[in-house]
Structures are given as structure tokens and as C-alpha cells.
Symmetry: D2
Subunit: 357 residues, 4 copies
């Protein structure tokens, strides 16, 4: 029975507590939040669980086995570090940290202490992402051409982070999960209109093999859009996460280049065939993710959404931010940072683990 | 009665001939196309109009008053120049030319000869763009924040131009028409997958006053999308050009910043009110555009979609292409190229002209 | 403080308990369900509330002021009657009873005992229905022409009632709420395919003044549809209850008959103007309904969704069922059953009550 | 070379002439319309074809082989009869005639004269209907449960016929084509609001084997809807004719009744699997239909959309109208009118004919 302390009971924390409460093999034994109103909500919902304003109480408690850090990003490093130092496994909200430097330190600390870090990339546990990953692994789409996501709405304005750090981690973690290649470089543009942080931004990721990814994030859209186009050599798909039923539509459409007699004589044929919307698993992603975390701790497995995965996302965020400041100038990702070993272990993990999503 | 010679009877040429045929004050007296099959189609549709394979016959004909150049972009400069030299007014397909240098030469030649150039930015004559322009001019949206267009589908692959030169002129001419400011700089990213020209690209335009524009063009999308988000301080709109009826939806949604006590204490209020879809004029845009051209010739008026307008679009295309080659690096637009006089004449024109769209 | 006993903790009961739990002026002091699994769920969610399998315990308890009957329709009469006899107010799931005869008996009993009956016509408390009612009362739509609802999906099969008794009460209660006239007659058609009760049915209601209503209900539809067209002389609206944001769209469309020189010379003009989607209140309807019930008890007011309202719906259901058996044959509603006094009290109520929805 | 005379050049006639003009094996040699404006349009579009106001000129012309009757329904009988008497084949607009009596007389006359009648049930030649028919014949949907069509919009008001005669022939001809059984009885309801003919109506058709069909037609809808749900034992489909690409969606959804231990113990299982949108043929239906007519004449084949097919539709229309007058009362179709021989010939035809749709 793994005993959890949950730090942060604002917007997402209640979902973490509720799901841990329903997960076998674990229980929540303490909740912490700085805000009195949040503590009051926690107390009312879980009368049997002690609630505190002091994170140290949870981190230093001998009874706690694992800490869930569900707080603003600028607090992740400090809280996670303290928890690891006290020998606790950590489930931490995305994005993992505010910098690659912080992420590296935490990863090394966890390795030294033989503790697990899981970064809450919840989307990786949705039926939609699992189905898309399966299609890509099976080769149904053929070689990947592009990933193009639009993630916009009249959003909650953040004050400490811009729209990239707020909304792009979803797509960046999905891209990291779906595309085996590591991106080479990033270009990002955007603008700030209201409160000093960018509220609209556009990110391009260049990958090897001519794969390109693009992310459109915007806090100032009148309509909510969650649509991703994924184009492959053989097939293409549209993932509309706002659809209740047909989230993923796969199109038997494409282009065949049949002859190469110089550019002007190139024969391009268009294919247009059936469309197919596979049934997508419906369960709550966070529930599966937390069960997977508990299982990884219990069986001493490295989760695929571990600290290294979190760090790769943070590296892309840092690069995007740097490019944004330079109005689109290309920023290269550091090759030495690419965690090749982790990638292979990631793949191996999924083959052997029974608790994989 | 203005007598037209139409060069090019491929995809778009038949629409130009058909609309000129229904426009008062003009008639088509000759059609030219290099391709025998196109000439055959023209002959069958218009038995009374002579059809030739030699553009010179039209350009040199003493009877022809105006030439419509509806041919690939790389032929525009040469054909337009020859026509102007022979004293003909020119209606030329977008994009105007392959370079700003060519555009400048043609503009100067037309001025010297006192001839009209109209660049076929058809979208400016649609009910949707006219309605959006009216809303912006009236101030209904408040200060403009952004223009964000997605224009993708499984498109006709071009061999001589990339997806930016093929699809972006629509948005660039609309942006030029809607936004009084001239963009400062461009960043563009993209990728080529099939035949040596970019088939997917993303363009960001930086304007003064924190206005930002973004254009997503893609020949490899499984679905056709023609959606533009326009965000303003007061209201925001969505223009979905594929909707039969409700093309423009205006949302009484927005953000009010009510207090500025440092970044962390900023109070942001969200507004969410009614949505409104105004009735949009339904007539064929090309028909109105050609009637406007005939009227500009007859009454010696400068069209607002003149050579200068076409040149501004070409300058943005050139800059986007340069940035694309440099993978997002910012390319400044040359301030000296910004045709301030033309802009003011443009505004004046519209106030006085009765044939404005 | 009104003390509730809730009978029935299956699909809808938990929502009633949760909302009563958040309503000022009342509390749930006992829950009853026949099914052990449901009792277990109730106990886990509300450890402090006693849970029983015996409805009599709640009905006979001196502490209970009001009973919520959230059970299958065939049990409503018996449970409600027992509760009224024990001096309890009753909130009862729709449809009110299995027959008009039962409904009348319960209404008379409640009057005699001076107790309140509220029938859970939840939809009347949604923002959408409130907005439509307001538009009709203001005369925005002009004289009403028709109400046409489609309410289909791959539904939960019921064994004791057919698709009309399962799905049509929603529309019938809305129609009763929106249209001041009482329907004259009903025609219904349908078919049974699987388990002996009709799974697809079509109901037409004839009203005075040429108003017509139609309801399409179907348990065997591959897609969920919740769309109602409402046509009036001046304007028409579409209510799509599955839309997250724009549930109601009002069209400035219509037909003007300008001249009546015999049928063949009739001049009909079409109007087509703007579309408008008003902001619709978002709160949970059941929460408002229960607060209204508590207020009606506390202030001794007759709720507009009282027993008489529930009986009018049951009468339409009975008539529809009879017509269904006769394959569409017209069944007249009994004029003497039309509760004219209740209607006027209903109107008066809404003007004076501060707790009206 | 079959020579056509086309009577009627209003809304639909121009499409018939244009398609005949592009069909091999035939040509239009005369056009007739009573209205001067229509004759002027015809003359402008086809300068080489003589245009007249006198239908007799075409009907009596020795050069004409076949007459297309594209006029209001009340003229069909007289014109078709005259044409048959003069030995002409007839292509006649739907609905075939104003009554079954008229239809029978024309069918008998055509048989006697060995002439072809084709009723213009254009929808039967669309890719969508052909695909649905194929799915039903293959048994992909399993036993048919229901056909439920909504065909509404702010329509062109007719003065001589009501909304059933205007819009329902489409669905009735499709139903006749898709469902091998002949309906037993009809119930119809509706209302008239403006000009003395019903502008909204609902038709139910009862078939053997518990198949039920329903048609919702309305001239007073603010939005255009063309959606048909078709439910079968194995699969269900949605045909949305307004979709550009994915007109037909087939759902692997359904209900399995696994046990029948009395009504209350019935176990119903829901299946929910993939959705599939097959590619649907895109060509113009009318073009295929006219080519089929020419082929049937040339090869002396009986078209499947012959007079008998047209008469079955007229019989359903007459019955629906009678029921409508009686406000839903069931009207039986006359068994002796069911053209069993024609049905078998219809099936045989399609197997052997190479020009079948």
C-alpha cells in the first residue's frame, strides 16, 4: 500500500486525489494547499484525510511513500527536490521544471536515490493518443510527414508563464511519445497583448527525415479548438479531441509520385478512398496514469513518462521561448541532451511492462 | 465598350471569360491558350469568339483595349509588360509577378502609359471579406490583436511554385486589405516532402501595434479547411469560408484587464456574451471585380487592388520564401518599398468611387 | 431546514442527493434503494447519511419532511401516495404516474393535505428552455407555427415502458411549458423490433390555431440527436442541446405572404437575414429545480411543474400510446381534463414568485 | 441517334437539356416552354436548337423520338399521353402523375405501343443511394429496422401541390428502391399555415417484417436538413446528403438480445465499434440517368425507374394525402396494385443490364 501526500488542491489536484482514492494499492494520507479556500474544499470532500498548509509536513512525514506535486511550475523543482531528498517517489505536474538544468539535477538525484519520477503527461494515457501511437507503430500511416496541432480557446490567463508553457506541453509530450526521432531545432513566433506574457504563439519543430511539427496555441480565441492533423505517406488522420465519439478519423487519402522526369514532368496522383473512425478507449486517462505509477513503484519499473521524458519537453519549451524572444530565429536542441538510453529503455519497458497504458 | 483579349483558358480563365461575357460595358473579342485541349473547350463554349495559340495576336491587335493574363505566375511579367507596351490595360492573375523588381517595373510602365493594372485578388470582392472589412472599419472588433488563417487541403500540386506562392496570396491580399498597417517582418517555416517544393508552410507576419498574423498552408491535408480567426480587443470572429450560410460568426467574447498591480495581481475578467452571424452578400466575387475593373477603366479611376497592392503581396511572398529557406529567420520588409502614397489614394478612392466592392 | 428522504439511488438518484446536499435550506437525512450495490455506492459517497432498503422507513419517519421518489415509473403512484398520506411533500421523477387516474388521485390527496408535489421536469430549468420561453413570451418569434423535436440515440432499453414513455416526457413537458394552448388530439406511430416494447416512435400533437408539434424518439439510432426546430411567423430557431456553446440559434428567416389573389397568384416572399445565438445560462438545471422546490415548500407556493403539469404530460403519453396501438388513429384529449385554473395560477405564480427559474 | 424534344425549361429543364447535350447517342432537337423569359434563356444557351411555346410541335414532330416532360405535375398526364400516342418514348419529371388512375392508363398505353417511360427519380442514380443499396443487398446492415428521413428547409412554396407532393417523392422513390417489401399502410399528419396547402408534414409507412419508414418534410425550416438514419440488425448508417465528402457513415453499433427469460429479465447488450465512411461515387446523377434512358431505348430494356416505379410512388403519395386529410388515420395501400411482376423484372433487369446505375 503506497501512501501518497498530495501538494496542491487547486484546479487539477482534486482530480489527482479522486483518482488516487479509487486506485488499488495506494491511498492518500495527507493533502496540502497554501490557500484556505482550497483546504476547506479538500476537507469537505475528504473528511478523513488530514489537510495542511505546510508542504514540509508531507515531505518530511515518515509515513508518506510518494508525493504528488500539483502546483505551479515555478515550485516544481524545489518541492520535487525536497521530496526526493526525503526518499519519496514523485508524481509531478507538467511541465516538469522551469529549466533543463533543474530537470537534470532532479533526474540524477532520483537515480542516486533509486526513486521514481513520473511527469503528468496525462494525454499519453488517453484512448486517442494510444490509438494514434498504435497506428504509427503498425505503419498504417506510412512514413510520417507532419504533425500540426491547433490548441486554442479563451483560456485562463496565466501570470507567471506564457501560452507556450501553459498549452504546448500537451503537444510536445505527445510529439515526444509519437515520433521516435528527436527534433533538431525549433522556431517560434508569437505576441503579447495584455499582461506582459505571450498570449498567442506558433511553434515549428524540425525533425530529421523531413518530419515537421507545428503547434498553434492561443489564449484569445473565441472558439475552443483541439484539432491535430497528422499526415503520412500512406494515410492521414484528423484528431478532434472535442468530438464525443469520433475523435480520430483516418483518411485513405494521399499523393503518389509516379514518375520523376524532372520537376516539370512529375506525375502526381491523388488517392481518395474511405474514411475510418476507429473506436477509441473511453476511460479516464489520469486514472490509468496513476495506476501505472503505483505499479511502476511496486514493481520497480521505469515509467515511460519519466523525468527524462519531462526533460525533453522542457528542453523544447526552453528552445521555443528563446526563439520566440528572437522572433522566429532557429534554436538548435543540444544533441548531447538527447537521452538515447532512456529512449531504448522506454521502448523495452513498454514491451515488457504489463501496466503500460 | 471595352474589348478584352483573354490569355489563358485553363482552370480559372473560363470563369474570367464567362463573367466578362455577362458584364455590361465590355466584351471578349479573342481568347488565347497554348494547349490545344483548352482551345477546343473555348471554341465549343464560345463559337463566336476567335481562339488562338499566339498571345501576340491579342497583345498586338488594334481592336483589343484590355488584356486578361490568366496564366502561370512565371509568365505574368513578360505578358503584362508586352500588353502595357502595346497600350492595353491589364487584369492579371495573382500573384502579380515573381518578384518585387518585376512588379515595380510594370507599375512604372503603367503610370507612364496611363494604363490600369488590376491584380485578381478575387477574395477582396467576396461578401465575407467585405463584411469583415466593414466590421473592422466601424470599430466593432476594437483594436486588432491577430489574424490567424488555416488554408489546407489535399491540393493540386504545383511544380513551379511552392505552397506559399500557391495558397498564401489569398490571405496576404486579404491581410493587406483589412489591416491598415504595413508588416515589419516575416518569419516562415515549412518542409518539402515530395517534389522539391515546400508542400506545407507556416508564415508569421509582425505588424506595428502588436498585431500578428499567421497563415497555415498545406497541400497534404486530408481535409479541406478554410478557417480564419480574427481577434480584437472588443470582439472576435471566426470566418469559415466552407460554411454555406453562416460564414462569419462574431463573438461577444473577450478579456478585460481591470487592474495592473504588478503581473501577479493582474485581474483578468472574461466576457462571454451572444454570438451573431450577419447575413453575408452572396454574389459571385469575380463578377463584381471585373465590373469594377471595367468601371475603373471607363472612369479613369485607380483600383484599390492595383499593381501597388499586388506588389505588396509579392514583397511578402518574397520575404516569406527567404525566411523559409533560412528556417524561420526573421526577414524585414523594406520600408522604402511601402507604397504610402498608394495607400492614401486607396483610401480616397474607396470613399469616392461608386463602383467599390 | 427541510429534511429529505431520497428513494432510489440508481442512475438519477445520486444527482438528486448531490444537488440537495448543496442546496441551502434542506438536507438529506436518509437514502433508500432496493439494490445492495446502489446502497453501497450511496454509503461510500455519503458516510454520514443512513442508507436503507426499506422505503417505509423514510416514508414513516417523523423527521422526514419531504420525499424524493427517483424510482421506475410503475412505483411512483404507490410511493407518492404513501408519502402524501404520511404528510410528506413529494418530488417525483417524470413521468409523474402510469395513468391520468393515478395522477388525479395524487393531486387531490396533496390538495387535501396541503402538500406540494413537484414533478421532475428538469429540462424546464435549463438555460435553453428558459431562453426559448422568454423569446416566445416576448413575441420575438411571432405566432408559433410548429415545434419539431428529434430525440434519438442508441439508448438504454427499458423493459417496463416503451420509447415514448422513456424519452417523450422531456418534449411533452417542454411543449406544455412553452405553448399556452392545450393540444386537441394526438396521432402516434411506431414499431417494436426487439423486446416487445416500441423502440421507435413518432408523435404528432394537434393544437388550436394551427400549431403542430412533432416528436421523433428512437432507441436504435447510431448517433445521438437532440435537435428541436421551432418555427414562428417572424423568426425561427434551432435548439441543439448537444452543442456546448451555441445551443440556440435564432434565424431572421421567414415567409411573407404579400398578396392573396387566389391560390395561383399568391406572392410569397422569403426573408433571410442575420442569425443570432444568445448566451444561454449554464448552471445545473436540477440544482435550480431543487432550490425552487425547497422555496415553494418554505413559502407555500404552487410550483409551476406541479402535479397538474405532470398529469397533463401523462395524459399526452396515454393518448400517444393509444394512438400508437391503433397505428396513427387520432386520439382526442379530454377537454374536461384541461386544467385551465392551474394554467392561470401557473402564469400568476411565475410573475410573483422570486424563485421562479 | 435518339432525338429529344424537351418540354419545360424552368428550374430543372436546363439541367436535362445540358446533360442530354453531353450524352452519347442522343441529341436535343427542340425545346418548348410557355414562358417567354424561359424561351429566351434557352435560345441564348443553345442558339442552334429551335425553341417554341407550343408543346404540340414537339409531340407531333416526325423527327422527335423521345419527349422529356419537365413541367408541373398537373400537366404530366396530358403531355405524356399525347407523346405516347404519337409514338414517342417519355422521360417524365417526378412525381409521375397526379393519381394512380392516370399512371395506370399511361403504363398500359406505353405497353401497347411498346414505348419506354422513365420517371425522373434522380436520387436513385446518386453515389449515395447506390452505395446504400449495395450495403443492403450485401446484407452489411442485417435485417432492416427502419428508414427515417428529414428533408426540410425554407423551401420554394408551391401553390398547386403541398409539401408532401413536393418533397416526399425523393424519399418514397428511394424507399421503393431500397426496400424489397411493399408498404402495407400509411399514416400522415401535417399542417397548413400560409397559403392553403400543407407546408409541414410527417409520413409513416408500415411495411411487413416490422420495417417502418418515416419522412419529415417541411417548407418552413430555418435550416436545410437532408439526413436519413437507416437502422439494421447488424449495423446502422447516417446519410447526410449535405456533407461534401463523408455523405454516408456506417456505424458498427447495435443491440444484441442475448436471453429471453421474460420481458423483465431480457439481457440487452450494446455494441459500439468503429465508424466507416466509404468513398461515394461523385458523378452527376442526372447524367447517368439520361444515359441509362438512352441505353434502355436503344437496347429495348425496361428501366427500373419505369412507369410502374413511378406509379408506386404516386400510390404512396395519394395514400399519404388521404391520411393527412384524416389527421393520421391509417390508409391501406391496395394489394392488387402492387406490381409484383414489375418487381421481379426490375431485379432481373439490373443483373443483366450493363447500363444499370
Amino acid at each position: 500500500m503506497i501512501k501518497f501526500g498530495v501538494i496542491g488542491y487547486g484546479y487539477w489536484g482534486p482530480n489527482v486525489v479522486r483518482n488516487l482514492d479509487h486506485t488499488d494499492g495506494c491511498k492518500v494520507i495527507a493533502i496540502c494547499d497554501k490557500t484556505p479556500a482550497s483546504r476547506k474544499r479538500a476537507q469537505k470532500a475528504y473528511p478523513a484525510i488530514p489537510v495542511t498548509s505546510q508542504a514540509e509536513e508531507l515531505i518530511n512525514s515518515a509515513e508518506v511513500d510518494a508525493i504528488a506535486v500539483i502546483t505551479p511550475v515555478w515550485t516544481h523543482y524545489e518541492l520535487t527536490k525536497a521530496a526526493l531528498e526525503q526518499g519519496k517517489h514523485v508524481f509531478v505536474e507538467k511541465p516538469f521544471t522551469s529549466s533543463v538544468v533543474q530537470a537534470e539535477e532532479l533526474i540524477n538525484l532520483a537515480v542516486k536515490k533509486n526513486l521514481k519520477i513520473m511527469v503528468d503527461h496525462t494525454f499519453l494515457f488517453t484512448g486517442a493518443v494510444k490509438k494514434i501511437r498504435q497506428l504509427l507503430k503498425e505503419g498504417s500511416l506510412g512514413s510520417l510527414y507532419y504533425y500540426d496541432s491547433t490548441r486554442v480557446n479563451l483560456g485562463l490567463f496565466q501570470h507567471d508563464i506564457n501560452v507556450i508553457w501553459d498549452l504546448a506541453p500537451h503537444d510536445l509530450s505527445i510529439i515526444d511519445h509519437l515520433i521516435p526521432e528527436i527534433p533538431e531545432a525549433v522556431s517560434a513566433t508569437g505576441q503579447t497583448h495584455l499582461n506582459g506574457v505571450e498570449d498567442i504563439a506558433f511553434i515549428t519543430l524540425y525533425f530529421p527525415n523531413k518530419i515537421i511539427a507545428h503547434i498553434n496555441v492561443n489564449w484569445l480565441s473565441p472558439v475552443k479548438v483541439r484539432t491535430t492533423l497528422i499526415g503520412g505517406e500512406k494515410k492521414m488522420l484528423v484528431w478532434n479531441d472535442l468530438e464525443a465519439d469520433e475523435k480520430i478519423k483516418i483518411y485513405d487519402k494521399g499523393v503518389d509520385v509516379t514518375s520523376q522526369q524532372g520537376l516539370y514532368n512529375l506525375l502526381v496522383n491523388y488517392r481518395s478512398g474511405d474514411m475510418w473512425a476507429p473506436k477509441v478507449e473511453q476511460g479516464e486517462a489520469l486514472s490509468q496514469e496513476l495506476a501505472y505509477f503505483v505499479d511502476c513503484i511496486a514493481r520497480d519499473k521505469v515509467p515511460f513518462n519519466d523525468g527524462a521524458s519531462g526533460m525533453r519537453v522542457v528542453e523544447m519549451l526552453e528552445a521555443a521561448n528563446e526563439s520566440l524572444r528572437k522572433r522566429g530565429a532557429l534554436v538548435y536542441l543540444r544533441p548531447q541532451q538527447r537521452p538515447a538510453p532512456s529512449l531504448s529503455s522506454r521502448i523495452e519497458l513498454e514491451e515488457t511492462s504489463t501496466c503500460k497504458p
